[in-house]
């Protein structure tokens, strides 16, 4: 019965969505075929694609959009992740107090050594990704996630070791504050929040794009420490 009703309702929704696409052109593809992709407005990001390079001197247009044009979203996004990390720790707080520490079996030598070997390499890769975020695919979030996966390896391979929660907290705070500080300096200098106030350099160089790499590094640290914190909390009872 329940399945039937669900299917029926979803059918109606599907029908509605289907009929959506039958009308006028939809999406960037539709607009391009209708010849309506213009540059004077945002219009499916045309403007960013054509002018982003000269405006921000960052080869990766997505990075330009993420950090500069829609940087305010990114601030919110970082906040959401922060909330998840904090909220998760809060919810599991009582559990950590209740839990009796159980002795986990140590990992085998191969895993142990492999993890220790890979850990610095992974950190390096992560750092590379977020430092070059404005030039190549990737950026702060991706790099941060890679860094966090390094910590995950540590939890897997080297039981009993892990992040120091105070260190994580400080890294989280400081990187978040750094992001905000850069944004606020823009407000103070140029009257606009998140303004790209630094000299932009020449495109495709490492030191280009103005504040974009700075913010991406901050995001990288923040995401790395937050995801690390989440992993730490979720695996809390294993230790």
């Amino acid at each position: 019965m329940r399945r039937l009703i669900s299917l029926l309702l979803l059918l109606i929704v599907a029908l509605g969505i289907f009929l959506c696409f039958s009308g006028a052109s939809f999406g960037a593809e539709g607009a391009s075929r209708a010849g309506k992709l213009t540059e004077d407005k945002v219009n499916f990001g045309r403007r960013y694609a054509s002018r982003g390079l000269e405006e921000n001197k960052a080869g990766n247009i997505v990075a330009s959009v993420v950090v500069n044009y829609r940087g305010f979203d990114t601030l919110g996004e970082v906040t959401v992740l922060f909330i998840a990390a904090v909220g998760l720790a809060a919810i599991l707080h009582a559990r950590r107090e209740e839990a009796t520490p159980s002795k986990a079996e140590p990992a085998s030598l191969i895993v142990f050594t492999g993890c220790r070997f890979l850990f610095p390499l992974i950190l390096l890769l992560g750092a590379y990704i977020f430092i070059h975020g404005h030039l190549t695919p990737g950026g702060g979030f991706q790099g941060g996630a890679v860094v966090a996966s390094g910590f995950l390896l540590i939890y897997l391979g080297c039981r009993g070791r892990g992040l120091r929660s105070a260190g994580v907290a400080v890294a989280e705070s400081l990187s978040g504050l750094a992001f905000l500080a850069v944004a606020l300096v823009g407000l103070a200098v140029g009257g606009s929040f998140l303004l790209n106030f630094l000299p932009k350099g020449s495109a495709f160089a490492l030191f280009s794009g103005g504040v974009i790499p700075l913010i991406y590094v901050a995001i990288g640290f923040k995401v790395g420490s937050e995801l690390g914190g989440i992993i730490d909390n979720l695996s809390g009872e294993a230790r």
Partner: protein
């Protein structure tokens, strides 16, 4: 170009969304519900990316100054999807932690039995 080939992406991502919704609607297991939510989230992310896709487009990344922006896909949905993914991760993390706590308290993940609060 036939209808199917021009809308195949949309059909795919909306199927994913509807499957996710169906899972949430009919499965009583909390973990499965979370999986359903994530399926739906993935579908939505795919949908966003598809919106900005141009047939045979390239990534909106310049690696040399001579590159022309014409064939590039829309960078905005990619930025949006980045945000949406992160939000999805946040929700997933919270949901899993809640599931852990729910299991601690009720000893089950069957949502039909977790009904201390009702009426």
């Amino acid at each position: 170009m036939s209808f199917l080939s021009s809308y195949i992406h949309y059909i795919g991502c909306f199927s994913l969304i509807l499957i996710g919704l169906y899972v949430v609607l009919v499965k009583p297991n909390l973990i499965k519900v979370i999986i359903g939510i994530n399926l739906m989230g993935t579908g939505v992310n795919l949908f966003l990316v598809t919106v900005g896709y141009i047939h045979a487009g390239t990534a909106p990344i310049f690696s040399e100054a001579a590159q022309q922006p014409e064939g590039m896909v829309d960078p905005v949905p990619q930025a949006l999807v980045l945000t949406a993914i992160v939000i999805g991760v946040a929700v997933l993390a919270l949901a899993l932690s809640l599931a852990i706590r729910v299991y601690d308290h009720y000893g089950t993940l069957d949502l039909r039995k977790i009904k201390a609060l009702r009426w």
